[in-house]
C-alpha cells in the first residue's frame, strides 16, 4: 500500500462513513484488507485498491470501508452503564411508558454483543423493550443477527450463569435464545446520515464510536442522535467520551460516567 493509497482510503472513510482513519492505522488497514482482496478475487491489496480507484464500484468500496471500521466490542462492555440502565433507568422508563415497550437503540452495534446485553438487562429487569441495533457493516450485522458466538466471544463479559440462561449451546457456538431474539431487530444505518423518518428512542447506546469519527462530522452525528432521542430520553457514550466541544445538545448526568440527557438548549430548539 502506497502513501497515496492510504490518503485515498482516509478520504473514502471520512466522506462515506464519517470515520477518521488515523495514519497510525496504516499497517492495520493493510492487514484488514488482505482478506477482502482475497474474497473479492484480487491477487493483492494493491491490485484491489488500484481497481477501486480506477473504477469505483460501490460494493467493493463498501467492502473496503466495512473492513476498516473498528469492530471491537464485547458483552456488557463498561458494566456500570448496563447496571445503571437495568437498576435505575429501565424500571422508571417502563413505568412511565405504560403499555408501550421502552425503545432502545444500539447505535454502531458492530457484531451485536451490546444489543444482546441490553436485551438481557431488560429481560432480567422484567421491562418490555424493543431494541433496534444498527451498524454500517453488513458483515458485522449478519454476525449480530445470527446471535451465534464462539466460546471465546461469549465469555468475554458474560458470567457463565448468564450465558447458560440466555444462550443455547450448538456444536461450537452459543446462540441467543428466542426470548432475546424476539426483542432485537438488526438493520443497516449510517450515523453520518440525517434521520429520514421521525422514529425516536427512549435510550440510545452509542459507545466508543464518536471518538473515531471525523472531527468535521462529529457535530452532525451528535445532532442526528439528538433528533432520534425523545426529550426525556438518555444517551450512553463510552465512560470516557463526551460531546463537549462538538455539541451543546447534551449535558452530562453527575455521578454516572458516560450518561447524558438533552440540554436545555436542545429542548428549547425542539419547542
Amino acid at each position: 500500500m502506497t502513501p497515496d493509497d492510504f490518503d485515498r482510503l482516509q478520504t473514502l472513510m471520512a466522506s462515506r462513513a464519517g470515520f477518521r482513519l488515523t495514519r497510525d492505522r496504516m499497517k492495520l488497514a493493510e492487514h484488514r484488507l488482505g482478506p477482502v482482496a482475497r474474497r473479492e478475487g484480487f491477487e493483492t491489496v494493491d491490485a484491489m485498491l488500484a481497481s477501486l480507484w480506477a473504477k469505483p464500484v460501490a460494493s467493493l468500496g463498501w467492502a473496503v470501508i466495512e473492513a476498516l471500521l473498528n469492530p471491537e466490542t464485547w458483552f456488557r462492555r463498561d458494566r456500570d452503564s448496563f447496571d445503571t440502565l437495568a437498576r435505575e433507568l429501565l424500571p422508571a422508563l417502563g413505568k412511565a411508558r405504560g403499555d408501550r415497550p421502552v425503545r432502545i437503540w444500539s447505535a454502531g452495534c458492530s457484531t451485536g454483543q451490546e444489543a444482546w446485553s441490553l436485551a438481557i438487562a431488560a429481560q432480567e429487569a422484567h421491562v418490555a423493550v424493543e431494541i433496534v441495533a444498527t451498524d454500517l457493516s453488513q458483515r458485522a450485522l449478519e454476525k449480530g443477527r445470527s446471535g451465534a458466538y464462539t466460546g471465546f466471544e461469549i465469555q468475554r463479559g458474560l458470567k457463565a450463569e448468564t450465558m447458560l440462561r440466555w444462550f443455547d449451546q450448538a456444536e461450537d457456538a452459543w446462540i441467543a435464545k428466542a426470548e432475546l431474539r424476539a426483542v432485537v431487530h438488526f438493520a443497516r444505518a449510517n450515523l453520518a446520515d440525517a434521520p429520514t423518518d421521525d422514529h425516536r428512542f427512549d435510550v440510545i447506546f452509542c459507545r466508543h464510536l464518536l471518538g473515531d469519527a471525523d472531527p468535521a462530522r462529529r457535530r452532525d452525528m451528535f445532532d442526528n442522535l439528538e433528533r432520534r432521542l425523545v426529550d426525556d430520553g438518555c444517551l450512553f457514550l463510552g465512560p470516557d467520551e463526551t460531546p463537549d466541544g462538538d455539541s451543546i445538545a447534551f449535558r452530562a448526568v453527575a455521578g454516572r460516567k458516560g450518561l447524558f440527557v438533552k440540554s436545555a438548549a436542545a429542548l428549547r430548539r425542539a419547542a
Partner: protein
C-alpha cells in the same frame, strides 16, 4: 494496602504460568497448586480471595476440591472460578451448582479473565 490473593490450581505448568501473568497484572499476589490435594493443603493454612480451578487433574480433581473447600471453616468466602477445557453446558451448570462463582472455558485470554474477575466482583 495488602495485595489481594489468588490461588491458581492447574496440573499444567504452562497454564499456571499464563494465568499467573494475567492475574498478577490485575494486582493479585499469586500462589500455585498442581492438583486439588495440594490446593486443599494450601487452603487449610490460608484461604485466598480468588481461586482459579482446573477440573480434570491427577490425585484430586477440581470438583472434589471445591466440595471440600466449601466445607472448610471460611471456605465459602473465596470466589472460585473454574477454568477448564470442559465446555458442555451440562457440566458448566454442574460446576455452578456445586458452588463455583463463575466458569472460564479454555482457551481464554487476559480480556476474558479480566471480565470474569470483574463480573464476580473480584476486581
Amino acid at each position: 494496602m495488602t495485595p489481594r490473593t489468588c490461588l491458581i490450581v492447574d496440573d499444567s505448568r504452562i497454564i499456571r504460568k499464563v494465568a499467573r501473568r494475567i492475574v498478577e497484572g490485575l494486582g493479585f499476589e499469586v500462589d500455585e497448586a498442581a492438583d486439588g490435594s495440594e490446593a486443599l493443603v494450601f487452603c487449610a493454612g490460608v484461604i485466598p480471595e480468588v481461586i482459579l480451578l482446573d477440573w480434570s487433574m491427577p490425585v484430586m480433581d477440581g470438583m472434589t476440591f471445591l466440595r471440600r473447600l466449601r466445607a472448610l471453616p471460611g471456605g465459602l468466602a473465596p470466589k472460585v472460578l473454574f477454568c477448564t477445557i470442559e465446555t458442555r453446558a451440562e457440566r458448566i451448570a454442574e460446576a455452578l451448582l456445586a458452588g463455583a462463582d463463575d466458569y472460564v472455558m479454555k482457551p481464554f485470554d487476559g480480556e476474558i479473565l479480566t471480565s470474569k474477575f470483574a463480573e464476580v466482583g473480584a476486581v
